[in-house]
Symmetry: C2
């Protein structure tokens, strides 16, 4: 039927590409969480041997991508395209890592939705025939995010109950035109939603309406019900955002029986004192590459709707009194063999 | 023949999409330059009626996109995809403008190469059949860039001879699967290049190797010589970067007879005291939409290779002693009717 747009926001490639490799790197706190045993690389002191948190972030991307290429049995120069982004000003985590990768590079900015955006775009391009292999990569680092968005770590500021903990993690996915693994059959590209939330310490609530909208659009565009999927996972809405999305669907009379959130999976919320849960581009990226994809490989789930969410604010927009625009992209992962 | 990858870095859509509309907005200094008469919207005081430079930047994107939609005869909700990015931290210029556009949104970060990146991606997606209309938008603002990257305007710092002047401008292009206008027949996606330049006031020199590499790849991948094009235009390398690229090709024995740079077109370099020329995402975007596309419409050029360049640094990377990674994407614009 050819590559096509479905309904208002969904896009389906003619030849759904295959996830042929994935990899992840994470910090010490993440290693102590429920997924700790599954990361390809761990740095207990979060530096990855580098002299700054920002350089550590580039190094994490490099390690995650190399692990993904290794699983795919590909050399770095076997990639036709690299799509990446992160939270740092001017996305230096990604562009400095891209310097090492040395393949055609497309930089993205989708805040914490970047794993969804990069995976969606790579899938559409590859599925249409543009090259044979593409990689989607993202990262975040607790320390670089704190000093850029909030206060210097040394201040030891108290966190509000609605706050989330930025993951120190990177995830990379390598897609191929052919091979064995889950296929990306359809993606739903998000529309920016802003319901007026101004509290930068409550990003789950700010992003929840975008997640709800994208999920609704996905179901309407594809004619699928939530039941079609063995697992629907947003991320990183955290505890509060996850509850809001559940409530929105309940109000519509729609049951979301198999619905989870990456922000609730990465850490043990009670034991690890992360308040509403995990956040950061690296949250959904590491949950995808250390939990969801390995789980599909083991046959735990056959169909997953992976829906990373992003809060498109900056410290400047907050200081200027702006509310927080949110976005969510949904990526349908199916099958595998 | 289907959508395809050509050689090492080039990608060609099966059905080359058509540029059916374009629009631009610019500030007072830009209005006094050679292209002043051709902007759709001008704000003499660079505020566009907004209370901050950052909000002015979003407003410029909004105006440029509306002008482009107007020329295309489309309502805003007629867009299947919006691809945009800018220089502001977390790309708030684009995401807040996307809040107004309210269509499926993909945020990009390619520094000053963003007009090339957005146009390339929109063309590949649309040319493959994903939707009927897509828009590519970017912007920069002298005042928001100075305070973010350099020093507060009030300091009145002296500029080095190699410095460039960030354009206060936005450009928007609307692409259609069908219609009349130039077609995007092929794009060459850049590889990040870093030759060790560390001077953030000499970005032309930092980006020139990336421009040279992408142009060389484009010629090798497509089998075209520079003569194939009536005009090759990089941007924003400025005076020094343009000379470096010319020298590199001369060293290879390749004559670049019809080669210009967006950084040399937007301002009158001598009269307007902009040292090495213009820069910023808005530079190549406004030169494209106020000069190149109208010129193609008038029959001045039939084939243009449009090659925006980006310096992928941040103030943090510079402070940490890093050199400046550069990138350049080439977009082949052909024909028209």
């Amino acid at each position: 039927m050819g590559n096509t747009k479905l309904g208002s926001q969904s896009f389906c490639p003619d030849s759904p590409p295959v996830i042929v490799g994935y990899g992840c790197a994470a910090g010490g706190k993440e290693a102590e969480g429920p997924l700790g045993a599954r990361f390809d690389h761990i740095s207990q002191d979060d530096t990855f041997g580098e002299s700054s948190w920002e350089k550590a972030e580039s190094r994490m991307q490099d390690l995650a991508l190399k692990a993904a290429l290794g699983r795919a049995g590909l050399a770095s120069d076997g990639l036709d395209l690299l799509l990446a982004g992160d939270l740092l000003n001017q996305c230096i985590g990604s562009s400095f890592a891209a310097r090492t990768a040395a393949v055609p590079y497309l930089g993205l900015y989708g805040a914490c939705s970047t794993m969804g955006e990069s995976l969606a775009l790579a899938s559409l391009l590859l599925g249409a025939g543009y090259g044979r292999h593409a990689a989607a990569v993202t990262s975040s680092h607790f320390c670089s995010a704190e000093r850029q968005y909030r206060t210097p770590l040394e201040y030891g500021c108290q966190r509000t109950p609605t706050a989330q903990w930025t993951a120190t993690a990177s995830g990379a996915v390598v897609l191929g035109r052919e091979g064995h693994g889950p296929r990306v059959t359809c993606v739903t590209i998000g529309i920016v939603r802003d319901k007026g939330i101004q509290d930068a310490n409550n990003m789950g609530a700010a992003m929840a309406p975008a997640a709800y909208d994208t999920l609704r659009a996905h179901f309407a565009d594809t004619g699928r019900s939530p039941d079609y999927y063995d697992l629907i996972v947003t991320g990183d809405l955290g505890y509060l955002g996850h509850r809001i999305v559940t409530d929105f669907f309940a109000r519509d009379g729609v049951r979301m029986d198999h619905y989870d959130d990456c922000g609730l999976i990465l850490f043990d919320r009670e034991r690890q004192d992360v308040h509403c849960g995990a956040s950061g581009c690296g949250c959904s990226a590491s949950v995808l590459t250390a939990h969801l994809l390995p789980g599909m490989e083991k046959g735990l789930w056959r169909r997953i709707l992976f829906c990373p969410t992003g809060a498109l604010l900056s410290p400047t927009s907050t200081m200027q009194g702006e509310s927080i625009p949110g976005i969510c992209h949904a990526v349908a992962l199916e099958g595998g063999s």
